[in-house]
């Protein structure tokens, strides 16, 4: 019962629109909403989306049009509304290499040595996939020529450092961590300082899982943030998360002010409706999706591509003129 089904349902519904009567259109909209609910999209968002769709139908569809035209318009309206659901209209930061960044000096572009490394801090709920995604992202940037280091600032989860270390070694990524030090704030600071002094382009800091119900854990996250001053904070979210997504995401946004989301475990049947609700609630873009347990299982997220894919209509872009 996933968004992928929505695609076939939607097409089914659209093709069942013959006379494009109000009844037909209403039942189609209802189908779309049910399918979204079954994909964990927050119920309030679904209600809003339904109202938007209905309003657009009212203004954009005229009774004189041919059925084919109406269908086309209906499809576009629904596609656009779905994209709007996952599109935060925010651009995530693009890391630059220390050696090749350009600056405008006296009106002229000049190559200068960038002095500050791009520090990425990972936050999220327990078991969401932070540690795994850290290495995936490190490998992603390494392949693109960046010098990347990993810092394990999780001193809580049993075996956390071993996990990061084994991943890092397999992927030949330099790492920093400690078996003895208990204070994650200290390790984070030491690791970032070390990699900065060694002129790393990107430093990725992994942290423990936490949840909004435990203030102490959130305080710790804020302290780590203050210590390492991340240029980018990424919240990692499990794609199968349900109705709790919104409140957790909001709480993380307030405390950690994350600027990007990585949606994990999208290789299952869950279609990320809960996380989509989190995007809408926090106006934060999804930048990558995790599609497996292996280090290469990371894909760039694009709202239009994502929705087209979920709808099972890969070539929707060509179907409708934007």
């Amino acid at each position: 019962m996933v968004l992928a089904d929505l695609g076939s349902r939607l097409r089914g519904a659209l093709s069942s629109v013959e006379s494009a009567s109000d009844d037909e259109i209403n039942s189609m909209v209802k189908d779309v909403c049910t399918a979204l609910l079954e994909s964990d999209v927050n119920i309030k968002l679904v209600v809003r989306l339904r109202d938007n769709i209905k309003a657009k139908i009212k203004t954009e569809l005229s009774p004189e049009e041919t059925t084919a035209n109406k269908r086309k318009k209906l499809q576009k309206i629904i596609f656009d509304e779905l994209v709007a659901l996952v599109d935060s209209h925010e651009e995530p930061p693009k890391p630059k290499k220390l050696s090749t960044s350009t600056k405008v000096i006296n009106g002229k572009k000049k190559k200068v040595a960038k002095t500050n490394s791009h520090v990425i801090m990972f936050v999220g709920l327990q078991g969401a996939g932070k540690t795994t995604s850290c290495t995936k992202l490190a490998v992603y940037y390494k392949k693109r020529g960046f010098k990347v280091g990993l810092v394990c600032a999780d001193t809580f989860r049993a075996g956390a450092f071993d996990q990061l270390k084994q991943n890092a070694i397999k992927a030949s990524i330099p790492y920093y961590g400690s078996y003895l030090e208990q204070d994650p704030v200290k390790i984070a600071y030491e690791g970032v300082t070390k990699f900065k002094s060694e002129k790393f382009d990107i430093i990725i800091v992994d942290t423990s899982g936490r949840h909004r119900q435990e203030q102490q854990l959130f305080d710790e996250m804020v302290q780590i943030g203050e210590m390492v001053q991340p240029t980018q904070t990424i919240m990692v979210m499990d794609g199968s998360i349900g109705q709790a997504a919104e409140s957790q995401a909001k709480a993380f946004k307030e405390s950690a002010n994350f600027g990007s989301i990585i949606l994990t475990k999208m290789d299952g049947h869950a279609k990320g409706g809960g996380a989509i609700s989190a995007v809408a609630a926090t106006k934060t873009p999804i930048v990558f999706i995790g599609t497996g347990e292996h280090v290469g299982d990371l894909e760039i997220f694009k709202p239009t591509t994502f929705i087209s894919k979920l709808l099972g209509i890969g070539d929707i872009q060509s179907l409708i003129e934007h």
Partner: protein, 304 residues
Amino acid sequence: FFSKITSYLGGSINIEDVSKKFYDQLISKNIAPEMAKNIIEKIKSKLGNQNVTLATYKQALTEELTKILTPNVSTDLLYDIKRNAANPRPYVISVVGVNGVGKSTNLAKLAYWFLQNNLNVLICACDTFRSGAVEQLKVHVNNLKNLNNQSSNNNTKIDIFEKGYGSGDHVVTTAKMAIQYAANEKFDIVLIDTAGRTHSNTKLMAPLKKFGDAANPDKIIMVGEALVGTDSVEQAINFNNAFGNKRNLDFFIISKVDTVGDLVGTMINMVMATKVPILFVGTGQTYTDIKRLSVKRVVDMLMN
């Protein structure tokens, strides 16, 4: 005049309107739409066309939710284990589930609980895939050893059995060796951890059957997490079907209940989909954060 009085006393309601309202409420509590629909349909057909008040509707729904969550088999695991004491083969329990839900952590909590109940526990590391999985269990076993030494009744023992990482038959061989070792060393229980896997990936699910056949656990416990939404239905069904047609899951542990507030609908989803009862709920990240299910509290959360 009459209608005024009845409404004042909680008069009859429009059953369709109220059903819609409760359907939405169940969904907002993280119950999957298909399950919510089943439940509401049941209430509607039960109440029929009688004159229904809001109070009777609520009562019927409360009863239905209670019925769903109340196990119809014994969940007295300790009793079952003690009955096995004379058996030369140790009592074997395995945890299974999707990635990151809390299998290893709740396995360690179970181990702690068994130690408190004077049972000797051997933890077997059969997640031979995920980085750090073996070391994670080693840390837990060390912690539990220390706790055990500090406590007054330290006549119980805990240890780990591991053969490192590997694929193919490595899991099955490790499990078999652990059970043999536990029998020789007089451990009462073998707790087998397994790798997390995507429930819809048949290539990853197929080895579970082989594992189940070889280790033949007395109890297979699926750990499911309270955070998961509608996917929990399919997760429960697929894991329940993973062990062939002669074997089902025995229990659920629903983890991370402390992270969802009163959005506890996952429990309904998983139990309704499979009729498998909930043994424990996980309520945090320390060894004592494992609690018996209070059906009444869960139903209260869903109703309010």
